[in-house]
């Protein structure tokens, strides 16, 4: 007999992990808002708006990293095009935010500013319904899912894998970037979407809105982690790992890898889309450079730094790399690319299992010494 759903979800994580997750959510949902709202700005305990935006942004990245880990760490498929799904989600939600500006734009027109600038008289067909939150929330997931499904179906069906797949995904995101750079595509061209005013009627820059978005991102990250933990432990996850390790054998046993790969690929894309949608209102801008091949490769390095094939690894990696990035770009802007480049090299050469692998190795050594 199958166990009830609650039991299955509860058994996805062990006790320690549930505790860690609980602490994380308590921090994000209670401690940070309290510290931000109740302490004056000069207090040592005050959490600044900058910090909230930064951490919120990094949590979105962590979500992308977990999505990337599902496909790379567990599926063995390295995608260099995940920036595309992230940006698609961001653009979909950005359309809603643009419509929420209403007549407060610099031209005071019903249409978004860039359309007035292009002398368009009405919204293009794909903007229809973009003023409804529900429809846009659906698009945020549906558009990346559709793109991923169509692309993935053809790619996996003809058994493209390994570096070939990586390079083609890179070409895909590159092509999409060029497309979105065009003004005529209808997504603001070079500048993308920015100058948002409201979300669901609330002022987007107010502390309360920020905290709600921050909390939502934290919840989404936690839910994704639990879902992923459950997924990779399920039968589906086991088959997926088997495909990663020996695809031919899995086929000979009688499984068709196509649907397993396609499912995880689409799930990963949807998670990226959601991350993008949470990212845009917090950061306040989305433009085609999010789709540049470099950005997508950076996602891979977050996962690699943290440790792929583990779920906490990508989160750690996203935080470590992005905190380092914020610190470097402020303190030593010239050295950031050196650091990032060396990080790529050092991690691949010396830390194939990432920080989590390093930690495990150290613990094992300690354990061996203790015996």
């Amino acid at each position: 007999m199958r166990k009830p759903l609650t039991i299955r979800i509860l058994s996805a994580l062990d006790k320690k992990s549930w505790l860690a997750l609980g602490i994380f959510l308590a921090l994000a949902l209670v401690v940070v808002p309290v510290l931000h709202l109740n302490f004056p700005e000069d207090s040592a305990l005050h959490v600044s708006t900058y910090a909230i935006t930064l951490i919120g942004k990094i949590m979105c990245y962590a979500l992308v990293a977990v999505a990337m880990d599902l496909i790379w760490g567990y599926g063995g498929i390295l995608s260099l095009g995940h920036g595309l799904f992230f940006a698609l989600g961001g653009y979909a939600f950005g359309m809603y935010l643009m419509r929420q500006i209403g007549r407060d734009g610099s031209y005071g027109a019903d249409l978004p500013d860039f359309m007035v600038f292009l002398d368009w008289k009405e919204l293009p067909w794909f903007w229809v319904g973009s003023d409804s939150f529900g429809w846009v929330a659906f698009l945020v997931m549906a558009v990346p899912a559709l793109v991923a499904f169509v692309f993935g179906y053809f790619a996996f069906r003809s058994r493209i894998k390994g570096v070939y797949f990586s390079i083609i995904t890179q070409a895909l995101t590159y092509a999409a970037m060029l497309l979105f750079f065009r003004n005529e595509t209808g997504f603001g061209g070079n500048n993308g979407f920015t100058d948002f005013k409201r979300v669901l009627g609330y002022t987007i820059t107010s502390s309360e809105t920020r905290l709600v978005l921050f909390g939502l991102t934290a919840v989404m990250l936690a839910v994704t982690l639990v879902f992923s933990a459950w997924l990779v432990k399920s039968k589906f996850g086991r088959v997926l790992t088997a495909i990663r390790d020996a695809e031919s054998r899995v086929m000979f046993i009688g499984y068709n890898p196509l649907w397993y790969k396609l499912t995880i690929w689409v799930i990963s894309a949807v998670l990226c889309g959601i991350a993008g949608a949470l990212y845009v209102p917090q950061v306040g801008i989305i433009n085609p450079s999010e789709m540049s091949p470099g950005n997508s490769i950076e996602i891979a390095i977050w996962v690699a730094v943290g440790g792929r094939g583990t779920l906490i690894g990508p989160v750690i990696g996203a935080f470590v790399v992005n905190l380092a990035k914020s610190w470097f770009t402020v303190s030593f802007p010239e050295y950031w690319l050196f650091f990032l480049g060396l990080l790529f090299i050092v991690v691949t050469l010396m830390l194939p299992q990432g920080l989590v692998g390093l930690w495990k190795k150290l613990m094992a050594k300690k354990g061996a010494e203790a015996c």
Partner: protein, 525 residues
């Protein structure tokens, strides 16, 4: 300065040809009515008198005045009779002559026409070329005269065209017909636009002339289209050779050795900066031989990029053989380091690399089709590099070893091939060829730290389409992609063309994951 020159010209003129111009005509230059002035200019020009140049130049420079009922030329402190060129006493209160824009234009073409009688061939040629675009009906007799006198074939051909254009406005339909027939043999868009009004009944009452004009426009259109297609094919060819230069090195490192080198674009950049370095060196130490910096840069760029390649291979890539995904990430890291190094060393701005003088200009194949020298040289250079690589891979011991290691590494090692040294050499070779590509790129695009990033996707596409493991595939794929994308650009614009090419490649890979040319044989995974 100009005034002194005029004065000099005047004094010379006054010595040689006296009393050549009809004073009445010269007087008419100062008439109240613009049309009278124009008529006077045309009549003075007609006789192609050297004195006419003098008077008209003076008029166009506002030094022609009316004193009493005589036109005089006044410069600084001396005065001359315009008609005779004799020096006269400074008149009491000369009246200046209004020269409006219409007159100015008329003067310019009259002066250009008069230059047709200059003794210097270059001056005549320049003038004939200038006249092509601003010929007026009134010039026909003058042009006829120049045509009769001209002996140089090139100038004669130009003059014939100008004469025919002038005759299009002739009242006599026979003259017009002859003119249209003469113009039908040209293939310039300017002449086409001159002929177009004649195809309309409103402008051309004579049927015969009109039909002839329609036929002429059609003939010119055909030749224009031909030139355009040839031009497109050529720019496709040149784009293809650039892609080829980018992809050839990759065909060795990725195609033959199986290393995904994301820093390949940065090796192109190293080559380009090496070219820049040679240019700086030549500017500082051998300014006389500056045109030779480019040939000198070729070996320098090759070895600079090869050196970077050796360092990359020895320090990073050799630890990752067989782990392609890791290689991809590590080489991406290397590319970031190289970009930032270039930024620190040379600054974030693009640097300026000038074409040597022998690369500027082009061959004019047809009036609207000029093949620029730099493109032609790049096509030739790509062929040279291709030949070099082919020779290296097929005719040298190193090439044989590389092929042996590719086909069966353990067996090659067993028979004594130093496999790890061969890996380094082959990687250095691929890197060096990327450096050569950089030399070519420095001549046609910006040289900056980011320049390599734009080529990496294209280069990989070439290798992927061409198929892994050999050079022929890369060559065909590069040329095919180059020409195809230029043709698409013709009717869809650059961005759409690029996107559709990428989409086509993605679809193509579905059908033929091995590329156009697949290695025959059985492979496990």
């Amino acid at each position: 300065m100009k005034k002194i020159l005029i004065a000099l010209l005047l004094s010379l003129g006054s010595l040689s040809a006296l009393a050549a111009l009809d004073p009445g005509r010269v007087r008419q230059l100062a008439a109240e009515d613009s049309s009278d002035k124009v008529a006077a200019i045309q009549q003075i020009t007609e006789n192609a008198d050297p004195d006419a140049v003098r008077v008209l130049t003076a008029m166009s420079e506002d030094s022609l005045y009316l004193a009493g009922d005589k036109a005089v030329i006044i410069t600084d402190d001396s005065a001359f009779d315009a008609a005779t060129g004799e020096a006269i006493k400074m008149p009491a209160n000369p009246e200046s002559i209004t020269v409006n824009n219409r007159i100015r234009g008329e003067l310019a073409s009259a002066l250009a026409a008069l230059k047709l009688f200059d003794a210097d061939r270059e001056v005549r040629l320049a003038s004939a070329e200038e006249l092509q675009s601003k010929v007026s009906a009134g010039m026909a007799p003058l042009l006829k005269k120049a045509l009769d006198k001209e002996s140089d074939a090139e100038i004669k051909a130009l003059l014939k065209l100008a004469y025919a254009q002038a005759n299009l406005g002739n009242a006599d339909p026979v003259a017009r017909l002859a003119a249209v027939k003469a113009l039908a043999e040209t293939s310039s868009p300017v002449i086409k636009s001159v002929l177009l009004p004649l195809t309309d009944k409103a402008n051309e009452p004579d049927d015969k002339v009109r039909y002839e004009a329609i036929a002429a426009v059609k003939a010119i259109d055909g030749r224009l289209a031909l030139a355009e297609n040839v031009g497109q094919a050529f720019s496709g060819l040149s784009l293809g050779s650039i892609l080829l230069l980018g992809a050839l090195g990759l065909a060795i490192t990725y195609g033959v050795m199986g290393i995904i080198n994301m820093a390949h674009g940065e090796l192109l950049m190293v080559g380009a900066y090496a070219t820049y370095g040679m240019q700086t060196l030549f500017r500082a130490y051998f300014p006389d031989a500056i045109d030779w910096y480019l040939p000198a840069a070729i070996p320098v760029a090759f070895f600079a990029a090869a050196l970077v390649g050796v360092i990359m291979e020895r320090t990073v890539i050799r630890w990752l053989y067989g782990r392609t995904l890791e290689t991809l990430l590590a080489t991406w890291g290397l590319s970031l380091v190289l970009i930032q190094s270039a930024r620190v060393l040379f600054g974030a701005q693009n640097v300026e690399v000038a074409n040597p003088s022998w690369m500027s200009g082009g061959i004019e194949v047809l009036p609207n089709l000029i093949l620029p020298w730099n493109r032609i040289i790049i096509v030739g250079f790509a062929i040279f590099v291709l030949l070099l690589v082919w020779l290296l891979m097929n005719k040298t011991r190193l090439g044989m070893f590389v092929r042996a290691v590719t086909q069966n590494r353990p067996m090659a090692g067993c028979v004594g091939v130093p496999t790890s040294r061969i890996d380094t050499m082959a990687f250095a070779l691929g890197a060096g060829i990327a450096g050569l590509g950089g030399v070519a790129l420095s001549q046609i695009s910006n040289v900056g730290p980011d320049m390599g990033q734009g080529y990496i996707v294209d280069s990989f596409m070439v290798v992927v389409v061409g198929g892994v493991g050999q050079l022929a595939g890369a060559v065909w794929a590069a040329l095919g992609l180059g020409i195809f994308s230029k043709l698409l650009e013709g009717w869809a614009g650059a961005v759409i063309a690029k996107i559709s090419i990428l989409v086509c490649i993605i679809i193509f890979i579905q059908k033929r994951p091995q590329g156009i040319f697949a290695l025959k044989g059985r492979f496990v995974e």
